[in-house]
Symmetry: C2
Subunit: 450 residues, 2 copies
């Protein structure tokens, strides 16, 4: 018997695909956690050039002078070609690991190159740490909202993601304490706290120094490992983020870094800095997964760091992204003053809160039809929350295109509100909008995050 | 209470390391499957330049003209720099996937580029397939001996590896049938048959065409997926290997290929060709693990394949490895005629059988002291078998160094036999050695493999 309203066999493509897979019953239980994003098909459409995409997290690599990269590559091939083309160590090139220490020192981290494992982007470090630690049913604590592809990994190892709320100073320590207590009471095993303390993806907020210390203490007291993911830390605008959490706590933090945002993601080079015993296991897991990270990519980056003004290049990136953030916020101010949003001091993202009546996921197809794309807030919650939010990325489009995109978004949102107004008959411009306008103060927690 | 003979606390380094790890009780159950190879420390010593290493599987990348690579890199950066430096698709660059079809066509495979997933070396394809399919307690069937780092992955997902014996024509179908029957009777779930049909690592043998067909039928009849790992297929010496198993069976085979041996491993680019539904899940797993494989590496390889005589380059590699295999076999003939070994028609490895009294693992430190290294046979069995075997690689050292290495190995083996002779008092040269010499016929199954 078919439930009323359920699709008939053959009418649902997913169902049909499933039935056609002769290996359907052979997959591991964990494979159930690997699902295509609901908005994946739409993003394929959104990648058409006429669409202004405020959806992706692609860095603006055109701001990197190609000569710098070509020169580094050519020198690597001429001077170390046989090494670059060969398998390498599962832990990564020693010279690069020494240079990574210099990068991390900019955020207060003192460490030993022996405790670094180079990975295929910091994404792969996340995967390896998850493989090492997560048993089915374990809990990962994370900010709500959180980085979408981290949550995909946690779920792929059958862990449960428990969100802890944020406000404009980041994760709220008291909320973390309470959540840990209730999860303990429920008999749950909490393996780690996954956090993006600086220029959060997607929320755009930064964890204050006082809270960093407090959260480290909470984690320590509860024997929970902190997984500090810091892809954006060096891309600040007005003033640097507080030092990394790893700068004051070695034994309780696995720190993840990457060259994807400060250089280029196409090389796929990131790293984990881990307590020694964990680092040993990470190397074994890395070897099992890929034998060794790309020697070629590592040597090119090492050569670039040795010979180019990489700190100056990061300053260039900071200027580019700062300008784009300003363009986005002034366009929001101009075209969508009735919304509220975060004001990031670095990174790639603004987190927008819509009027209560709107649903960012339901609205997305209409936005794409108006040639603008964003990521619905639901993507960043494990529990279906986030319908009233959207993430807007200012990293990739030009300031001009950002303005165009926000203008189109305003058309979509106005259209949605008008439609609701017409049908509901209870909605008035002056009523809802003015009350939302009152809340649009960046110094106060955006209502969706707190 | 300490068991008699057990090390005291602090006397065993592993034990001490364990006690010092504050996160020791936090690892996932599967992390227990990730162990350092027993010979790992020794291999660090063996990488000193004065040691002739017959242990590794490093391709001889010096046979690749560096100009070809530099030109490809420079063109990629000039013509497609912004794409090369950026994130890409989780499935891999479409143009490269089309070119991979041409590579696979050389071994009889007809496929669709849409069913290919580009991975970070074929090692990562192995990892992803394992993550998708293996639940704890599942069985993976594989040749005995088998590729060491494949077994590490299977164990890291808590699967059991069951070896099926080989002879000089590869995996023995009748033995496979029997093993499947007994595992079924024991209530085991067999997820796949992992096989290296051409120029096997470490055994050096090739599965005959008739057996390929028979084994595909056995797998199909028993609903077991075949994981065909083919890194060496194009590196044949006198005549090509039979066509790939995937050439006659699409739905039941996941095929793994790589550019590590036909071009260079430093780029970390391999691929999986999979039935459509499995391919979809592999893309999701790939995205979760690394977001996307390196755009830069993929575009350089694509450019190389478009503009260089890549088939001619593979012929060059074939010539290099053929010469080295001949050097190894003639040195074995000259210096160690009392042993038996396989005679590979391609690939990188010779599998050697020692006189029964010898233990390849116990002998390794003495070999390294004599400045020659090999891989003990035990590394290639999940069950401790293989003490009477060693894998000798002819891929990396020059023919001259191969001769030097085998001469040193002969010194070590003679020394061992003399020692045994002295102590046992029952061993005579004429007795054991001549009987072994009788068995040294390549057309007959080496006793250790059959």
């Amino acid at each position: 018997m078919t439930e009323q309203g359920a699709p008939q066999a053959g009418t649902n493509l997913d169902q049909a695909g499933t039935n056609l897979d002769p290996w359907y019953h052979h997959y591991a239980e964990r494979a159930g956690g690997l699902r295509a994003s609901e908005v994946r098909a739409l993003f394929a459409v959104a990648s058409r050039p006429e669409v202004v995409s405020l959806a992706g997290g692609m860095p603006y690599v055109a701001a990197l002078p190609q000569d710098l990269v070509i020169n580094a590559m050519d020198r690597v091939m001429v001077e170390q070609g046989a090494v670059a083309l060969q398998y390498g160590s599962g832990q990564g090139v020693p010279a690069l690991r020494e240079q990574i220490l210099e990068v991390m020192a900019l955020e207060g981290i003192r460490a030993n190159a022996d405790d670094i494992v180079v990975t295929t982007g910091s994404q792969h470090a996340l995967e390896l740490v998850s493989k090492l630690f997560l048993d089915p049913g374990d809990v990962v604590l994370s900010e709500g909202p959180s980085y979408v592809t981290a949550m995909v990994i946690f779920k792929s190892y059958q862990a449960e993601v428990e969100h802890v709320p944020m406000d404009e100073h980041g994760l709220i320590p008291e909320a973390l304490r309470e959540r840990i207590a209730s999860l303990k009471a429920a008999g749950k095993t909490m393996k780690f706290l996954y956090t993006i303390p600086s220029f959060h993806n997607p929320a755009g907020v930064t964890l204050s120094w006082e809270r960093r210390l407090e959260i480290l203490e909470i984690a320590k007291a509860n024997d929970i490992l902190v997984l500090e993911d810091n892809p954006y830390g060096l891309l600040y605008f007005d003033q640097p983020a507080p030092d990394a959490m790893r700068s004051v706590e070695q034994d309780g933090v696995v720190y993840l870094g990457t060259f994807s945002k400060t250089l280029a993601p196409g090389f796929r080079v990131g790293w984990a800095l881990a307590p020694h015993a964990i680092r040993e296991k990470l190397v074994l897991a890395n070897e099992a997964a890929v034998l060794s990270p790309s020697s070629f990519s590592q040597l090119v980056i090492s050569e670039y760091l040795s010979t180019a003004d990489w700190k100056g290049q990061i300053n260039t990136f900071r200027g580019v992204y700062h300008e784009r953030k300003n363009a986005m916020l002034s366009a929001l101010d101009e075209y969508l003053p009735e919304l509220s949003w975060t004001n990031p001091n670095g990174g790639f993202y603004v987190w927008v809160t819509l009027p209560e009546q709107l649903d960012s996921k339901a609205m997305l197809p209409r936005a794409v039809k108006e040639l603008v794309a964003y990521t619905p807030g639901t993507a960043f919650f494990a529990d279906g929350d986030g319908r009233q939010n959207m993430r807007l990325s200012f990293c990739y489009p030009t300031p001009e295109n950002i303005r165009v995109g926000i203008r189109r978004l305003a058309t979509v949102i106005r259209g949605e509100l008008d439609l609701l107004d017409t049908f509901a008959g209870t909605f008035t411009d002056t009523g809802v909008l003015s009350s939302i306008e009152d809340r649009r103060r960046f110094s106060a927690p955006p209502p969706n995050i707190s």
